[in-house]
Structure formats: structure tokens, C-alpha cells
């Protein structure tokens, strides 16, 4: 988790705010990225319904074919349609990304907010604990646990990556909450005798949420990259299930005879990651502006 440079920039930004204010509008590129992400999501959800070739069907008459009208992205070494495998492959990435972040935010989010709001011993203990865990390279722990924990399944990958992401999410959410918990309106609510629950849900949550969302997007991108790395080590979902990482890995053996098998999933993955990172980054600076204006 901690290996993403954007994550690091977020932490720095959450701590010191000295970035120059940016434009207020999100821009057309932002909405283009949102559109592309929605298109990808829809394709992944509706993959079974859409008129596409079976991603597992092996047609030995057209092995390693170049892109044509019949096979939009060509076929792989077993005669399977690359286009439908890229679409079906996006499911694994999206599932791992969202699933792991669901676990990470499920634990890290509430704990981070509580710790920042309550402070005291609870905060000291939890923060020390999380910082120590951050020092342990999450990626190595993930690989080690996944390789010894057999048989492998998508759920196990999600659980392991999700748990590994808890400390960093805790850290970001805690820092963000601390900045807000000292604001006048929170103190005003406290003085008025609002319950802790009300302050957390009505005052803090709406203000932490934007930072959380932009971090979530960058987090999903980081997890998808991690899943790709795992696929290269043979630690992702088992073949013949397509995933972008699996496909790129399989392409390595026949790189020169069939470059399409490497190019299409690579482009699909990079575009998806670029959109996630861009939206996350743009949202972050967008909300930063309101911070500066306050």
C-alpha cells in the first residue's frame, strides 16, 4: 500500500497545506475520466449479457490472430478472443480494488476518526500500533501470506490486501479528522452539548468524506497495481480465469509472435489506473481550495 507515490503526497498534503490554490472547476478531462470509469464498470457488470464471445472458448482455427472485425483485439495463443478476455478480466481488478478498500476503510476509517476525535490513551496506543505495522513492508507480507495460504481464491486475496491497507487508511483518515476536529464549528457543537455520535456523524464525517473519497480512488488504483504484480508471481486468481495481470503475464512467453496479447490488457489497465489517479488527484486539490478559502 505505502508504495504509491500519490498516497505519500496525500499524507504530506494532509499534514502541511502550502500548495498554491488551483482552479475551481473540475475541467473536461475530469469528466472524461469519470465517463471512462463508468463505461468500464458497466462493461464489467454486464459482461455476461453483452453480445460478446465466450472468454474461455478456444478456437484453434484462429490462434494468435491480429485484430480484425471478427476479433476486435485479436486472439491469444489458445484462440481465445482477447477483447472479451480484457472485459471479463476487468472484473478481477475491480473486485479486488473495491473489496480490499471496503475492508480497509471499514476498519481504518472509523478507527481513524474515533482516535482523532477522542485523543488520549486510546489514540496513542492505536497510532503507535499502526505506525509499527506500517514499518513492516506490506507487500512482502502479502506475498508471503498468499503463497503459503493455499488453495488461493479471490476472496483470500481481497482479505489479505484489505487488512494490509488498514494502517495507511487509518493514518490518512486520522490526520484529516484531526485537522477538522479543532475547527470552531466542531467546538461550537460540543459546547452546545451535542452527543459524540452526532458530532462524529453530522460534523466530522461530511468533512472527512471528500478526503476519504479521493484517497479511496487512489487506493483502488494502488490495489489494482498490486493485484497485477501478484498475477506475475502466479499469486492471483488461477487460470483460465482472465485478469489483466494474468493476461500480460501469459503474453510474456509469446511476446514476439503475438504482441497484441500484451498491448491490449496493458493499455486497458493503464487507462483505468490513470483515470482513477487523475480523478483522485483532481478531487484532492479541488477540496484543498475550499480549505484554503475557509
Amino acid at each position: 500500500m505505502s508504495s504509491s507515490p500519490l498516497v505519500r503526497e496525500m499524507i504530506e498534503d494532509a499534514t502541511v497545506r502550502d500548495t498554491p490554490p488551483r482552479k475551481r472547476r473540475l475541467g473536461i478531462l475530469f469528466w472524461a475520466c469519470v465517463g471512462w470509469l463508468i463505461l468500464n464498470l458497466l462493461a464489467a457488470i454486464l459482461a455476461n449479457v453483452l453480445p460478446m464471445k465466450n472468454p474461455f472458448f478456444q478456437d484453434y482455427a484462429v490462434v494468435n490472430a491480429s485484430p480484425s472485425l471478427h476479433h476486435l483485439f485479436g486472439t491469444d495463443d489458445l484462440g481465445r478472443d482477447i477483447f472479451s478476455r480484457v472485459v471479463f478480466g476487468s472484473r478481477v481488478s475491480i473486485e479486488v480494488g473495491l473489496g480490499a478498500m471496503f475492508i480497509g476503510f471499514g476498519f481504518g476509517g472509523p478507527l481513524g476518526m474515533l482516535a482523532a476525535y477522542r485523543r488520549g490513551k486510546f489514540d496513542t496506543f492505536l497510532t503507535t500500533f499502526m505506525y509499527i505495522f506500517l514499518a513492516f513492508p506490506a507487500i512482502i507480507a502479502t506475498i508471503a501470506v498468499l503463497s503459503f495460504w493455499t488453495p488461493r481464491s479471490l476472496l483470500k486475496i481481497i482479505v489479505v490486501v484489505g487488512i494490509a491497507s488498514v494502517p495507511i487508511i487509518y493514518r490518512v483518515i486520522r490526520t484529516a479528522t484531526m485537522n477538522i476536529a479543532t475547527k470552531d464549528y466542531v467546538i461550537a457543537a460540543k459546547v452546545q452539548g451535542a452527543t459524540d455520535r452526532r458530532i462524529l456523524v453530522k460534523e466530522l464525517l461530511p468533512n472527512v468524506a471528500p478526503i476519504g473519497v479521493s484517497f479511496l480512488l487512489i487506493g483502488v488504483a494502488t490495489v489494482i497495481t498490486l493485484e497485477g504484480s501478484l498475477a506475475f508471481l502466479g499469486l492471483s486468481v488461477n487460470p483460465p480465469t482472465p485478469s489483466w495481470g494474468n493476461m500480460i503475464n501469459e503474453s510474456r512467453a509469446i511476446l514476439q509472435t503475438n504482441p497484441w496479447l500484451a498491448i491490449f490488457p496493458s493499455v486497458a489497465m493503464c487507462l483505468f489506473l490513470l483515470c482513477l489517479n487523475f480523478i483522485g488527484d483532481r478531487l484532492r486539490s479541488h477540496f484543498d481550495v475550499t480549505e484554503v478559502k475557509l
Binding site: 502550502d18 509499527i132 498491448i263 493503464c270
Partner: protein
């Protein structure tokens, strides 16, 4: 704090095997192995003793420089690590020199005219590069560049040791160091650029300008040092991350460094080697961060005075 972290890491590395469901011996050897081997492993790992006692025995051995003997290859774990580590260090030095050599001047050019055409191109380019995972970069570079140029890109045989032939060594490391350098460059460029832009708005820079000091001298002598705190902090985390996360580059290009050794050890269930490398990498990451904290204090003495 530091001691606490080291303690947790040793416990973590030690416990890796106990974290998993099932009998450790079966996990290591697989279900098909003979009871004799299993008994041997039990004795070697001291699995018949209580867990806290196992930990202290293991720690005692480590303090004496003994990481155990691999159960698969029957060679000392420390020897394996010692032969792989220099490759990591060399990769790191080359890629970091390249990354800094590119990031510092380019960040200055960008910061001189923020939102100028050069800044726009570099910012957009660096953001795009940021989203390309290293494994994709390698596959595409091999496909479009390495094959055509004849740069070594695959097979253990393509790696040449530094002592045998240094030109061949540099050639075999060119692709991995390039990929790692680009990854680091993107991060350094972005951090330094935004800090330089903020620094250039300080009053003492205006003062220096009004005295007629050249732009070049202002950037290098007045702006770079106060702007490099975040850069150094990021570099510390990034280099630590390379040690732990650069494995995929090594694995794909068959560079027998620590990461490559770790992955193959995991594949073979060579548990003691995995344990040893995890420990060395974790301690290395901590030392690197410690070193950079120290350098940051020299670059900006205000930090330690606070």
C-alpha cells in the same frame, strides 16, 4: 519507538509461518513429504518447544549472525543474502543517480515558469508515467525497445557480475535501472516542483532578485536547499520501497538480487530464506529512513530545533 518497531518486525518475520492455518512443517514441506523430514524440520526450527522460547533461540542465533541453513538448498541463509545484496545496492545507486540527475534540473525549469508549456508537458507526462505499473513498463519496453536494440532483457544468463565484466554488468542492468529510475524520477520531480514553486514566492527570494542575483544562482543556492526537505523525506520512503517493492522488476528481468531470491524462495517454500530476507529488508528500510531523517536535519536545522 525504534526498538518497538524492530521488535515487532522480528516477531512478524518469525511468526509469518505461524500466522497461517495448519501445521508449519506441513506448510513448509508440503503434504507429500516424509515424516523423517518433518521431524528434522521440527528439530531445526525447534518447533517442539514453546513459542516464546523458539523466538528467543531464533533471536539469539541472529545476534550471532546465524540466520539458519536453508532446508531446500542446504546452504547458510546468510551466504545467500550476502551474494544477492550487492546487486540490489548497485541497482539502487544507479537508478537513484539517474532519477535525481533528471528530477532536479527539470523541476527547476518547471518551477521557473509554472503553467508554462514545459511545465504543462512535464506535469502531464509525469502524471501519466505515475499510472503505469512497473511490470507493464517492462513488458512494453522489452517489446518495443529492448528486442530491437539488443539490450539484455531476459534469462539468468544475461546477468553479468560486476567483477567479471563491468561493461557487460552495466548493460545487463540498464533496463531494470531505467525502469526504477523513471519510477523514482516521477515522484521526485513532482515533490520538488511543488516545493520550489512555494519557496520561490518567499520574501527572501524577492530580496535576492532585487539585488540582481542571477536566476540560476537563486535556484541552486537559495531555493533548492529549503525546498529539498520533502524531497529527501520522499526519497527515504521511496528507496525503502525499492528495497521491498523492486522485486517485480528483478523477477521479470531475472536479476538475482534480494527480491528475485525472495520470490524464488517463496516459490520453493524455502521458509528460512524468506524469513531471513524479510528481516534484512525490514531492517534495511528502517536504517534508510533513519539515515534520511539525519540528512534532513543537516539540510534544515530548524527541524531538530523545534
Amino acid at each position: 519507538m525504534l526498538l518497538g518497531i524492530v521488535f515487532v518486525i522480528t516477531v512478524g518475520a518469525f511468526y509469518l509461518i505461524h500466522l497461517l492455518p495448519g501445521d508449519p512443517a506441513v506448510v513448509i514441506l508440503g503434504t507429500g513429504d516424509s515424516p523423517l523430514n518433518r521431524a528434522k524440520l521440527f528439530a531445526q526450527l525447534g518447533l517442539n518447544k514453546p513459542i516464546y522460547e523458539q523466538y528467543f533461540v531464533w533471536m539469539g542465533n541472529i545476534i550471532h549472525g546465524n540466520l539458519g541453513t536453508s532446508f531446500i538448498s542446504q546452504t547458510p541463509v546468510w551466504g545467500t543474502i550476502k551474494s544477492a545484496l550487492p546487486i540490489d545496492l548497485e541497482l539502487m545507486v544507479i537508478s537513484q543517480i539517474l532519477a535525481f540527475a533528471a528530477a532536479i534540473p527539470l523541476a527547476m525549469r518547471s518551477a521557473k515558469k509554472p503553467d508554462g508549456w514545459l511545465d504543462r508537458i512535464l506535469s502531464a507526462g509525469s502524471f501519466t508515467l505515475l499510472s503505469i505499473p512497473s511490470f507493464i513498463a517492462i513488458v512494453l519496453l522489452v517489446l518495443f525497445v529492448a528486442i530491437d536494440l539488443g539490450v539484455p532483457h531476459t534469462g539468468v544468463s544475461s546477468y553479468v557480475g560486476l567483477s567479471t565484466d563491468w561493461i557487460g554488468n552495466l548493460e545487463s542492468l540498464s533496463l531494470p535501472s531505467f525502469v526504477l529510475a523513471v519510477g523514482s524520477f516521477v515522484v521526485y520531480y513532482r515533490v520538488l516542483r511543488s516545493d520550489l514553486i512555494a519557496t520561490l514566492q518567499e520574501e527572501y527570494i524577492t530580496m535576492a532578485r532585487s539585488k540582481g542575483i542571477s536566476q540560476r544562482r537563486i535556484l541552486w543556492r537559495h531555493a533548492l536547499r529549503p525546498s529539498s526537505v520533502a524531497l529527501l523525506g520522499t526519497a527515504g520512503v521511496n528507496i525503502g520501497g525499492l528495497l521491498a517493492g523492486g522485486f517485480i522488476v528483478q523477477y521479470l528481468l531475472d536479476i538475482p538480487g534480494l527480491g528475485y531470491t525472495l520470490i524464488s524462495a517463496i516459490g520453493l517454500s524455502d521458509y528460512l530464506v524468506v524469513q531471513g530476507i524479510v528481516l534484512v529488508v525490514c531492517v534495511g528500510v528502517i536504517l534508510i529512513n533513519f539515515f534520511f531523517d539525519f540528512v534532513i536535519n543537516i539540510v534544515d536545522p530548524r527541524i531538530s530545533r523545534e
